[in-house]
């Protein structure tokens, strides 16, 4: 595996220098896992298309850019407002990170019920290192994911959310990661922990957003543990700058009768990959893993998901919708694994992609791996362009072409957005999609009588 390393790795070289400044530098157990991480990462090297799981995505931006660790100064970049996703934060709790540094001035504690602990990783490691030790790195599975290993070694930011048994948080918690605003390519490594005890409920909205211009690299790892009967809604928008590289790995454990609902909206970034692994470990566990990707220019977006059914009567639903314009490219790899024990599994996956332009490309690989017989599993995948007859129908009713196209794209993506059960979030995400669409009234030549 060592030969997959294609570039001298600045991260490995810079590890020793960066170490003293990383959170929890005085914890010996953390020191050990960081060292193991960098060693393993050095052995694995960056993933290349030679690995089946990376067949369609090449980390070109990491090969051709020399990223440097962020400094406190980068974290203090001038910012006059926070690009909040939800309209008026009001009493909603909110955490804001700029280039990986938490900005206390933008922090809204909100009215969180007691039994909820929300803080940045650095604080957790300082205040409750034992709890962090118990969870950190516990859910990331085997050590074959090079980017997870790199994150483990370098993790310098992120947050921890801990909800005690039976506590229900009504308000969505928003976490904003702002990137950019630096004059050199920087890298930061958020590590997030979300732990819901039995019967707890929470909604977390993660907003990765780029400001200004500039190349940066965000390598995020999120570990989520959902206790018996608990429910987590986990929504994410990724709207990085067009030079940014966004790599995210999520590992989720879902216990008996618990539910995990996720939506990932990708609308920006030179290169992005969202890799999600969900383990349905307890009987009756449910997962809804949905998303949409809207790409233009020469952006590249990769959504790779694995849902593993390990217990009887577990269900999963997965809907991904993609819209690709210009020369953009998207990858969807979705795998559903049903282990022998998972009798009575119900799994459904759908991936649809619209190609708006010549030059856009979609590579889809929906995959079923099934070892149990009492199952109902299916997947579907389609690619194509906007339906000409639907377009004709709308135009015959006097709707200008550009606007009709927008309507059709909107309704296409809408099928996935409908899966978001939180209404505020669904509206916010729909707005994001609408903003992405070309401004129809300025584009329609025929409307101007040309």
């Amino acid at each position: 595996m060592g030969n997959t390393t294609s570039t001298p790795l600045v991260f490995v070289d810079g590890f020793d220098a960066a170490r003293p400044g990383l959170p929890g530098a005085d914890l010996s157990w953390l020191k050990d896992i960081r060292e193991a991480g960098i060693k393993r990462f050095n052995g694995l090297g960056l993933p290349t298309p030679k690995l089946e799981n990376w067949k369609y995505t090449r980390l070109k931006s990491l090969e051709d850019t020399r990223f440097q660790p962020v400094t406190d100064e980068d974290g203090m970049a001038a910012l006059d407002h926070v690009p909040s996703l939800l309209p008026d934060p009001g009493g909603r709790p909110r955490l804001v990170f700029v280039n990986g540094r938490m900005r206390p001035s933008f922090w809204i504690e909100g009215d969180l019920p007691s039994g909820v602990h929300l803080e940045c990783l650095r604080d957790t490691l300082a205040r409750d290192p034992d709890w962090a030790e118990a969870y950190l790195g516990r859910l990331t599975g085997d050590d074959h994911q090079a980017l997870v290993q790199l994150n483990t070694a370098m993790m310098d930011t992120g947050f921890a959310l801990r909800v005690d048994a039976g506590v229900v948080i009504e308000q969505p918690i928003e976490v904003v990661f702002i990137g950019g605003l630096t004059n050199r390519p920087v890298a930061y490594f958020p590590r997030n922990l979300i732990v819901l005890a039995a019967g707890a409920q929470a909604t977390v909205v993660i907003h990765h957003v780029g400001m200004g211009i500039g190349a940066y690299f965000a390598n995020t790892v999120t570990e989520i543990d959902i206790g018996e009967g608990a429910r987590l809604n986990h929504y994410k928008v990724q709207a990085e700058t067009r030079d940014a590289t966004h790599l995210s790995t999520v590992h989720v454990n879902v216990a008996k009768d618990a539910a995990y609902e996720a939506f990932t909206l990708s609308i920006g970034g030179r290169l992005s990959r969202n890799e999600v692994s969900v383990r349905l470990e307890g009987e009756g566990a449910r997962a809804g893993l949905n998303g949409a990707y809207l790409m233009r220019g020469s952006e590249h977006c990769d959504n790779t998901t694995v849902i593993e059914h390990l217990a009887p009567h577990t269900t999963c639903r997965e809907i991904f919708k993609g819209v690709l314009d210009d020369q953009s490219r998207a990858v969807f790899q979705g795998k559903i694994i049903v282990r022998k024990e998972a009798q009575g599994t119900d799994g459904h996956q759908l991936c649809k992609t619209l190609l708006l332009s010549t030059g856009a490309e979609i590579d889809a690989k929906p995959e079923l791996e099934i070892y149990a017989d009492e199952v109902k599993c299916s997947h579907g995948a389609t690619t194509g362009q906007i339906d000409e007859t639907a377009l004709f129908y709308l135009r015959s009713r006097g709707i200008p072409e550009a606007q009709a196209r927008n309507l059709l794209v909107q309704s296409f993506v809408g099928e996935a957005l409908d899966e978001i059960s939180n209404e505020d979030v669904r509206h916010a995400f729909t707005d994001k999609v609408l903003h992405w669409l070309p401004a129809a009234c300025f584009r329609s030549d025929e409307w101007r009588g040309k």
Partner: protein
């Protein structure tokens, strides 16, 4: 639960059933020395009086083969193959002169075929099928030659074609599956012993179904056929291939290559019923079926249709594919794969859309029982020039018993916005509702299972030519024996 427990039981009974085609014909073979090296390649080439260019090509392939790694991406597991532990040439003795008619053929050989249910003589008169029977690498009988010659169709062993029409062979051999393609195909290029050659002249509709039965007989002999079918402009041919092998304990390697070329407005229909020995219920023995099949729709409006019924082999590694180069060309893939006991199958297709308005259709039905594992692996690629191309894929898997596995791994790559790709896949078991419905109408459980499975496969069975449909249905029946009652 009751239904599936029962089904599992039936499958178990089935497993206990002895392989009914397992017998060995005792014929002296004239074999090349064991092992594989350049001398083996030269031996085979000399044995067949091949032209210089072919030997050179074989050697090129062999040298390339030495540098190649075993493909490991398929979801199959088997011990490493010792290529030196096999014989690469074995011909029934006395075949050097070639049989002039059926009477010249070893009666024991004919009896073998008869046990398989393909009496040559009967077929000659009744079925109207020309059989180019390959018995351990050398063709022993070719019937209906004269009738085919009348219309100009060339249907003969490839070694004979090298004498008769060397230019045609030279022009097309290795152009669809190059000698560098994959380890198994490269090995075949180096050591292929025989196989069929078909050429349909322009405007000719082949008057009968062409059929070849392949047999693996001599112990420790890999079977390396090479089939080349060329359908010239506006021609049509339907080709049937059936495989059955006697029972053996060692794993036998079968690495065949099939190349199809369809020119303007031509159509090739290629049907396979593969029933090699699958090994016993513990996975001992059986054939390794590593086959490279590929068709090139070179001409406009050409069509290639693959139909396969895969019930045998310990391991099946097979992806009949279509390269749709010509505008408006059509590729089709219909497949039934049944795996039982410890069988492993990794099969599927590739549809490479290059021309405008090319269309492809993939219907795959997999049935997995016992401890078998089965994978559908397919690729649909829409190249930037494939304006208006269209694909529809449907893969369904049926699981019988809770120790088997069924996997679906489709790859979809689209670089053209006007191309439409649709893929659907389902995995399920025979539902209790279905069983209850049939049983309450007085249908015994075994027959009910057979009914459901036959219904499940119907779409593909319908694609088979008449001559084969009967045998294929019989095979599906055998696979479900004990449940058909």
């Amino acid at each position: 639960m009751a239904a599936s427990t029962q089904t599992a039981q039936q499958v178990q009974e089935l497993a206990d059933d002895k392989y009914k085609y397992g017998f060995v014909t005792d014929i002296e073979s004239e074999t090349a020395p064991k092992g594989l090296n350049e001398d083996t390649v030269r031996f085979i080439s000399a044995k067949k009086n091949e032209p210089e260019w072919l030997l050179a090509w074989r050697l090129k392939a062999f040298r390339h083969w030495l540098t190649m790694a075993e493909p490991t991406w398929a979801k199959v597991g088997f011990p490493e193959i010792d290529y030196q532990d096999s014989y690469y040439y074995s011909a029934p003795k006395g075949s050097d002169d070639g049989p002039k008619s059926l009477e010249d053929i070893d009666p024991e050989l004919l009896a073998t075929y008869e046990k398989l249910g393909i009496p040559l003589r009967e077929q000659e008169f009744l079925a109207g099928v020309a059989v180019d029977a390959v018995f351990d690498s050398v063709s022993v009988a070719t019937t209906f030659k004269s009738k085919l010659e009348e219309v100009g169709v060339i249907f003969c062993p490839i070694s004979e074609a090298l004498e008769k029409c060397p230019d045609l062979v030279k022009k097309y051999l290795g152009t669809v599956v190059p000698y560098t393609d994959n380890k198994h195909a490269t090995l075949n290029s180096a050591v292929f012993t025989d196989g069929s050659f078909v050429y349909i002249p322009p405007g000719v509709r082949c008057p009968m179904e062409l059929s070849t039965y392949f047999r693996i007989n001599a112990k420790n002999t890999g079977q390396f056929e090479r089939t080349l079918i060329i359908a010239d402009k506006e021609s049509y041919v339907s080709y049937l291939e059936g495989c059955t092998a006697p029972m053996r304990d060692e794993n036998q390697l079968h690495a065949a290559v099939v190349e199809l070329v369809a020119l303007d407005d031509a159509e090739i229909k290629y049907s396979t019923v593969q029933n090699w020995y699958p090994g016993d219920e513990n996975g001992k023995g059986g054939i390794y079926n590593f086959v490279t099949k590929r068709g090139a729709c070179r001409g406009r409006n050409s069509k290639i249709s693959w139909t396969q019924v895969e019930t045998g082999s310990a391991i099946t590694w097979k992806y009949p594919s279509c390269i749709l180069q010509g505008d408006n060309s059509v590729g089709e893939f219909y497949s039934i794969a049944i795996t039982n006991n410890c069988q492993q199958a990794d099969t599927g297709t590739k549809m490479i859309h290059l021309g405008r308005n090319t269309t492809s259709k993939i219907i795959s039905k997999g049935i997995s029982a016992g401890r078998a594992n089965q994978t559908y692996r397919g690729l649909v690629r829409m190249s930037p020039k494939a304006e208006g191309a269209r694909n529809f894929t449907q893969c369904d898997s049926l699981l019988i018993g809770n120790e088997c596995g069924a996997h679906t791994v489709p790859y979809i790559e689209s670089k053209n916005k006007t191309a439409i790709v649709e893929h659907e896949a389902t995995t399920s078991t025979i539902s209790e509702d279905q069983m209850f419905y049939l049983r309450q109408r007085g249908i015994p459980p075994e027959a009910a299972v057979a009914l459901v499975v036959n219904g499940f496969c119907r779409e593909v069975l319908q694609q088979l030519p008449m001559e084969f449909a009967v045998e294929a249905q019989k095979l599906v029946g055998i696979s479900l024996e004990g449940s058909v009652g």
